[in-house]
């Protein structure tokens, strides 16, 4: 059963991808210019994965993310003002400046946080999926993680339990070829992480993670299976990060060649989708340019909002360590 993307869905996916790309480009500049504290792990290059999966999810569906989490928040419906404010460590941020880039979240849209621990989100998403089944809802949970995280014990335990209990979970492995700075062939003996699905008794699917439409279709099947009570799916999306593990610099790195990066950039997921949108008469170059311009303005407005916002009051340092009954 293939769920094909309508024109409206393709435009929606495209907008999500453009929003991620521009948010991240501007976030990268902020980090390079020393405007924001801490370390940012940027999602540029992997946009088709977050957008293609999230196009199937509602606010009531929950996701967990990784240290490279901004793209998942944007794709799930996160707003630039609160996101940039969080990167700046401002009180108006999604986490009131307590979490920052690696813990950015928005519970209202079902975003259970980026996660500073590789593989840390997978058991949590499994727990959310358990909750959805326990409460007899039709909601699903999805966990985004990398090829590196697929070597963590947390992945193994969560995958086994999700299959055992037939939970409505989509395990989305974004295989970008690297666990931090270590190449995949130097951190696991398999080529396809999806092969591991068989060991848990769930379907494993490999898809071109630079092709948003392919991701959308494959994710559609996985989400439908989950909603129908048929259990989890391991969906591996082959993708690539154009930037470094941390920060922006993408070229001239010791652990990968510039040629490799250039080859992957030929398959820039946004460019590929835009070519298709124009070719099929779904959009025009002019409309696409207008979208980029509008989103860029929104990003600049978000940055201004963040810069103008107050820092958290140090007197409130201990707030939210515990829930206190009002």
């Amino acid at each position: 059963m293939t769920i094909q993307a309508t024109d409206a869905v393709l435009l929606d996916i495209h907008e999500r991808m453009v929003r991620i790309r521009i948010f991240e480009e501007e976030a990268g500049k902020l980090m390079e210019n020393g405007k924001v504290p801490g370390a940012l792990h940027l999602y540029v290059g992997q946009e088709a994965v977050a957008a293609g999966v999230m196009a199937h999810l509602e606010d009531t569906d929950h996701i967990t993310s990784t240290h490279r989490g901004h793209g998942h928040v944007v794709a799930k419906g996160g707003q630039f003002n609160e996101m940039y404010a969080e990167l700046y460590g401002k009180a108006a941020g999604y986490c009131k400046g307590r979490g920052g880039s690696m813990h950015i979240c928005n519970m209202e849209i079902g975003m259970l946080g980026a996660n500073g621990i590789v593989g840390g989100g997978i058991p949590i998403a499994m727990g959310a999926a358990f909750s959805k089944k326990f409460r007899k809802t039709k909601e699903v949970a999805a966990s985004f993680f990398g090829d590196g995280a697929s070597n963590e014990g947390s992945f193994h335990e969560a995958a086994n339990m999700a299959a055992l209990y037939k939970l409505p979970l989509i395990l989305v492995c974004e295989n970008n070829g690297f666990g931090e700075y270590t190449r995949q062939d130097n951190h696991q003996a398999i080529v396809d992480v999806a092969d591991r699905a068989a060991g848990y008794g769930m379907p494993g699917v490999v898809v071109d993670g630079m092709d948003a439409i392919a991701v959308y279709e494959a994710a559609g099947e996985a989400v439908a299976r989950a909603r129908n009570g048929e259990g989890p799916t391991l969906l591996e999306c082959k993708t690539y990060r154009f930037y470094d593990h941390v920060g922006v610099r993408g070229m001239g790195l010791s652990y990968r060649t510039d040629e490799e990066v250039e080859n992957w950039k030929q398959r820039d997921p946004i460019k590929l989708l835009e070519e298709k949108l124009i070719e099929q008469g779904i959009s025009t170059k002019r409309k696409i340019n207008a979208l980029h311009k509008r989103v860029r303005e929104e990003a600049m407005a978000g940055i201004k909002f963040a810069e103008d916002s107050p820092l958290p009051d140090p007197d409130g340092l201990l707030e939210d360590v515990y829930y206190v009954q009002a």
């Binding site: 986490c95 621990i117 840390g120 058991p123 909750s131 326990f134 335990e157 939210d320």
Partner: protein, 336 residues
């Protein structure tokens, strides 16, 4: 017991610690439809300690759930389900297994609410079994409470009596924060007064078990009973000891401790955990910070030696703190 009941219908009902745990879980599962109990062997087997016995039959397999031996998975299940509308009760069979799931406990459960700017609420309770005394050796006998009390975001309680075991489990499950309930395996058969129905024991409130004039013995979990025996024995040396059962380690009832020490001017702390870097160090530091001028002697600490828990009964008996050692340490400190 039966005779007593015949004589007086109002006589308090006595129950073993293990059955008090079951009753606490029963009350919670009955009153909270969002609650479920998950852990290794909690359903079919009724837990290796027997304290979930009968719950599967009463509440069904949807709410009393056997899990694989996957502590990371089980703890993640608790975190994810608590963040999305359930009230999970997670059974971590032995406290020693914390090593298998410390990321889920320390980096996820304890911190999620804070990292998310207060936008998450995690009503999850974790039951786990601590303590030595059954020749279960180095990996099934530890008292690792400081692994947990060092983590802001968690609450940690350690019931010494059947009454507190039931009441603290109910309080923990009604709390909207992650709470660890540290049970004690050598106390499972301990009998004590336990009322029927649901009741709470306030988390963060210590219990003065016995009032005294010139020494405060501070203990928790099974060591409370050793401290009570020590207090009896210390009478012959002219020491009238007050005994405080902390019940809750985090939050800590500092007020009760300080008030007592200001009255007695002497304190000895007792715990089963290794003495070095143990919870007693925190207590001793707080006492000297808050009641220094009232102290007539150094604050004493009785705990296990700096060694893994041994297997052989003869070794284990000499490893575990007891009343005799509490008396000896107190006499040494006080010079009596």
């Amino acid at each position: 017991m039966a005779e007593a009941q015949l004589k007086d219908d109002q006589a308090p009902r006595k129950l073993a610690y293990v059955n008090a745990i079951t009753e606490g879980l029963h009350e919670v599962l009955k009153e909270q439809p969002e609650a479920f109990l998950a852990g290794e062997d909690v359903a079919g087997a009724g837990s290796v300690f027997g304290y979930t016995s009968g719950l599967l039959e009463e509440f069904g397999a949807d709410r009393v759930i056997d899990t694989p031996i996957s502590e990371k998975g089980i703890m993640g299940l608790g975190v994810g389900a608590a963040a999305t509308g359930c009230r999970p009760i997670i059974d971590l069979m032995f406290m020693d297994f914390l090593g298998e799931c410390m990321d889920e406990v320390a980096n996820q459960m304890a911190k999620m609410r804070y990292m998310f700017g207060g936008h998450a609420r995690l009503p999850v309770t974790v039951l786990t079994m601590s303590g030595a005394g059954m020749s279960l050796a180095a990996q099934h006998s530890q008292s690792l409470e400081v692994w947990l009390t060092h983590l802001p975001g968690l609450k940690v309680v350690a019931p010494a009596t059947p009454y507190d075991a039931k009441g603290l489990i109910i309080s923990a499950c009604r709390d909207d924060n992650p709470v660890f309930v540290l049970l004690n395996k050598l106390s499972l058969a301990l009998q004590g007064e336990v009322p029927e129905g649901a009741y709470e024991v306030e988390i963060g409130k210590a219990n003065v078990m016995r009032e005294g004039k010139n020494l405060t013995l501070i203990a928790y979990s099974r060591m409370v009973h050793e401290a009570m025996q020590a207090a009896d024995q210390l009478k012959e040396f002219g020491i009238d000891a007050e005994v405080i059962d902390l019940r809750s380690l985090s939050p800590l009832d500092t007020d009760t401790i300080v008030k007592s020490v200001k009255k007695t001017h002497r304190a000895v702390i007792v715990h089963e955990a290794v003495r070095f870097s143990g919870f007693g160090g925190e207590l001793a530091a707080q006492i000297q910070e808050l009641a220094f001028d009232y102290l007539d002697a150094p604050v004493g600490r009785v705990g296990a030696p700096f060694s893994p828990v041994p297997y052989s009964p003869s070794l284990e008996q000499s490893y575990m703190p007891n009343a005799k050692r509490i008396v000896a340490e107190t006499r040494r400190l006080l010079g009596v």
